[in-house]
Symmetry: C2
Subunit: 348 residues, 2 copies
């Protein structure tokens, strides 16, 4: 998550910007310049989306995420289901079987009880469907005007699969890069609700729990063939690929023609000047897989309801370490950098 | 945490009130009427401050807490150290050895980077001192005016001691009630900073990690003698005792003369019309202990730096189940109810 070369040092920033929450370069700066030096320890230094721990003889994954999405309810989900799916996915892409969640609410005085019930019910339904249990929680209330309806934090614990050690630093030259489906749906769904956009066809968030898709990928590949997985949320596929290229010190080349982008998403992005590679997803994963196993993994993913559009979208190279490039539909090649500023705040 | 008899049904409340975050009756209502029905499961239904889980053969405790304290910096601590101590304590009073924490930040656009560094450093120092590791995190940013500087969520995992099963439903008639020290310090420290009160002597928050005090209590008592522990934070000692009385279906009688209340806290409470029994503590614990072990436990606590004022403050009775009473300094007896409204918002 930390670019080795960062254009502007954080020392020049005295205050928090919206972009510090974007999942791009500013987020990486904040991590590198404030949190990592303060909390310095080997687990955190791995920069995964989840911590891998050993406790009482068991190997666990542990992760946390706060959700501040605006609006709270959107086509394809709401802050509650998003909070459940997001934390499940951070466990799943770490190679863990998600088991337990916490749920902590920061409520704004005056928030409608009916909306809170609706959100709690949505969380419960998402957790039940995914087979995880919400076992502990907390509620705080802040004065009117000091919150934004409700913020939710979910932390999660999963059981790490025997012998599995996925890491964003494990990609190797020759590996295949797999994407589980279409990109940009979540971000455009949120943005179109927020801005009242009239799109040709309605875009729904792809918010979903990916752990059974991950199960299918493990079942279809020999031990060690899955190098790493990430869910490309804030910062989009571009930022996720940059994190992997950076941490593994490899190049990644993707092919634009292999990307699935729904027409309405493509249209909205053109209208708004957004690049779908930087738009958030909440039900997709990127996987780096040994070349010889990639076809079998994609085939298994396509048989899963959440992987119908899975495809090999690129490959890992030994050239230009730390850099992501894309072969465009026109046959040219361009650099795909990490999200620089703040494309879409409050997206999750 | 759920009073069997609740004076006003939540159906009459359409919106969230500040008191829903107070740790008193309204918080219990919200839990009973919204969250428990939605998330229904046996672990959550135990209503402990932490979940006891089995995963991969290990017995763990898991807990979460959001911190929205105002002001962020106060005499005796800050939101960062408070967030570390609070979650350590929720694990410790469940009989677990705290090991790992997550840290999730919701930052307001414009928040001073220097303050964030100070808070992160304070969290790191508190974690290092307590021997726990912050292993995973998250940062979100909300627009200016939609937050209040910074909110922090910490979740925690601890290893449950072999054979230990503490529960607020395990208090038995004849047991002793132990309090680890003075009451009301945290709440009055926060309030005096917030309101700019000029107290005779300065009151500092008692915010501290209690897990080594708990270690000493286990070492000083035979298996099963410690029935339950709670840290009396929001809602104060009164609300905590009511929770235990309620869940164990026992009466609890405390003796006012045994309570340690610093003069400045007593003075501030008189000035403000507050009852110190309802004021928050962040470095104290209430324990229910088998009568025959109580003296040894208190003695061990007094040898610990955080238990110098530990004392037996009351006893569990078979009479008036679910009710807490106090024998006053004047020899009369009064009912100590759960916190009804909202005494002090944003206290932790």
């Amino acid at each position: 998550m930390i670019p080795l070369v960062c254009p502007a040092p954080i020392a020049t920033r005295d205050t928090i910007l919206l972009g510090h929450g974007s999942g791009g370069k500013l987020s990486a700066e904040l991590l590198r310049d404030v949190f990592l030096p303060a909390f310095a320890n080997p687990v955190l230094a791995k920069l995964e989306d989840q911590a891998s721990l050993e406790i009482g003889g068991a190997r666990l994954a542990f992760t946390t995420d706060s959700f501040v999405v605006k609006p709270l309810f959107f086509r394809g989900g709401d802050i509650g289901s998003l909070a459940v799916h997001g934390t499940i996915n951070d466990l799943a892409v770490g190679g863990a079987v998600p088991e337990y969640l916490s749920a902590a609410f920061i409520l704004e005085e005056g928030f409608a009880m009916a909306d809170l019930r609706r959100i709690a019910d949505s969380m419960a339904a998402a957790a039940a469907k995914a087979g995880v249990t919400i076992v502990t929680g907390d509620t705080k209330v802040v004065e009117r005007g000091k919150g934004d309806g409700v913020y939710i934090n979910t932390a999660g614990i999963g059981r790490l699969r025997e012998g599995v050690r996925l890491s964003a630093s494990s990609a190797q030259a020759g590996d295949a890069v797999i994407l589980s489906g279409s990109i940009g749906d979540h971000g455009i769904a949120i943005l179109s609700e927020r801005e009242g956009l009239e799109l040709e066809t309605d875009v729904a968030s792809d918010s979903a729990a990916l752990h059974t898709l991950v199960d299918a990928m493990f079942a279809a590949s020999p031990a060690g063939a899955l190098r790493c997985m990430r869910d490309p949320t804030r910062g989009g596929v571009a930022s996720t690929l940059n994190e992997i290229a950076e941490q593994s010190a490899v190049g990644i080349e993707i092919d634009e023609r292999t990307l699935v982008i729904h027409n309405a998403v493509r249209g909205a992005c053109e209208l708004l000047g957004l690049d779908p590679l930087y738009v958030a997803n909440e039900g997709k994963l990127v996987a780096v897989v040994a070349r010889e196993s990639a076809a079998a993994v994609v085939e298994a993913m396509r048989r899963h309801p959440l992987g119908g559009d899975a495809a090999i979208v690129g490959r890992v190279t030994g050239a230009h370490a730390g850099m992501v490039t894309m072969r465009t539909a026109f046959g040219t090649s361009r650099i795909v950098d990490m999200l620089a500023g703040d494309q879409l705040p409050r997206i999750c």
